[in-house]
Symmetry: C2
Subunit: 251 residues, 2 copies
């Protein structure tokens, strides 16, 4: 892969890469999609390079597809990382050595790369990586047990998680992450899982219902021992509307 890119390096944006932080939720677990690198003991975010003739947004979609086989995921740009020595030349040289690429051929890869971060939140049971070609190990790993990552990938992951948590204050989440019919406690656990902390039940109920995105169904959850909780669904039209205008009309 790197060899092919180096052979066609004039087609790629120099000194620029893409890194994707794909969060996966299911059943009160928040995971992140990581790749086991072949050239080191550490894991990495799925990343890659952008062609000079494609937008960075399209580049991000293609990088994710190329490295993990995942398609149709809506990626949001969240930050660009450009520390002076974010990819030390020792690191690049190690990768080149692993792929048996002579330094002179790998010069393009030895420069400083600025990387644009993209993130997404999906249901990890609906987004099963099917690597095409290079058979990398791609895994959903619990966000509370992220192993050591290459370069500044931990910083990129942390910033993405911070952005995701901040976004909870601005836009609703849950659509496509919960079953069609769900209970308020299930929705609360989704929020708690993303935030990494417990929420007050009454406060949550008050705030979430005030947004007006929930439809109370004339049904209770079955298979529950005592006091069956009510089922809800998202009012899709209103949900889309709130996505656009934001949760806080603010001032």
């Amino acid at each position: 892969m790197l060899k092919e890119i180096l052979a066609n390096k004039e087609n790629y944006q120099p000194g620029l890469s893409i890194d994707c932080v794909i969060f996966g939720f299911h059943d009160n677990q928040l995971k992140v999609l990581l790749i086991k690198t072949k050239y080191s003991d550490k894991w990495a975010l799925p990343g890659g390079f952008v062609r000079v003739d494609e937008s960075i947004d399209d580049g991000a979609v293609n990088v994710l597809k190329g490295r993990t086989g995942l398609q149709g995921i809506f990626l949001r740009q969240f930050a660009t990382f450009g520390q002076a020595k974010r990819n030390p030349v020792e690191f690049s040289d190690g990768v080149l050595a692993f792929y048996q690429i002579p330094l002179v051929e790998g010069q393009w890869y030895r420069n400083r790369f600025v990387t644009v971060g993209y993130y997404a939140l999906v249901d990890f049971l609906q987004a099963v990586p099917q690597p095409e070609g290079n058979n990398e190990i791609v895994e959903w790993i619990d966000c509370n047990a992220v192993p050591e990552l290459i370069l500044d990938h931990k910083e990129i992951f942390d910033k993405a998680l911070e952005t995701l948590r901040m976004e909870l204050n601005l836009v609703p989440v849950g659509y496509n992450l919960l079953p069609e019919k769900f209970t308020i406690p299930e929705l609360q656990r989704l929020y708690e899982t993303i935030l990494g902390r417990k929420l007050d039940r009454r406060n949550f109920l008050r705030k979430i219902t005030s947004i007006g995105i929930l439809t109370k169904l004339d049904e209770k959850k079955s298979n529950v021992a005592h006091k069956a909780p009510n089922l809800y669904s998202f009012d899709k039209e209103r949900y889309e509307e709130v996505l656009k205008i934001g949760l806080h009309q603010g001032w």
Copy 2:
């Protein structure tokens, strides 16, 4: 300037630029710092290139200083722009022709540039551009009367303004933009000016006081015909704290 950069292009990050959207507030006016380009009838955001040995954040500070003489302004990265043809080669060739640089010497500049956007909000009376060297025309221009801009600079400006308005929901503003002692109506007009719309007086009063960043002074505004309004100042300690934790503790 461009000539010097091209002569030392190996010291600059290829295909990457910085653009700064510096908003200036004073006396209920919101302005933006623009540069009158020499090579076209259009105006531009102050922008430039990043050295390979500096971080993009430091690069942004240096670009702003180099183009406008402004220093000590806290810049926040807000988005990166990378459409496939965001800087058409016809544009680059026009600039090279203006500076009488042969195409073969200007090859570096003819490629697609991805640009990282930074923004800031300052008091435009406190931030007077003192161009060093190349004597560009740098002006504070009303945000409601932005002239035609080069390339995708209008899109970058719009995104920065959208981000600034969104940030009003997340962090307090006003410190360093209002006199030390101010009235609630003055603070409300600051918010209205940034948002570009009127706010309900009672709602604003309720929300702004609930944050707890204001200290009500034992003083009334003088030189006011009737019913003098109370004066307030920011509780700096609490203001800094809220800046850190955010306005909405959210869920």
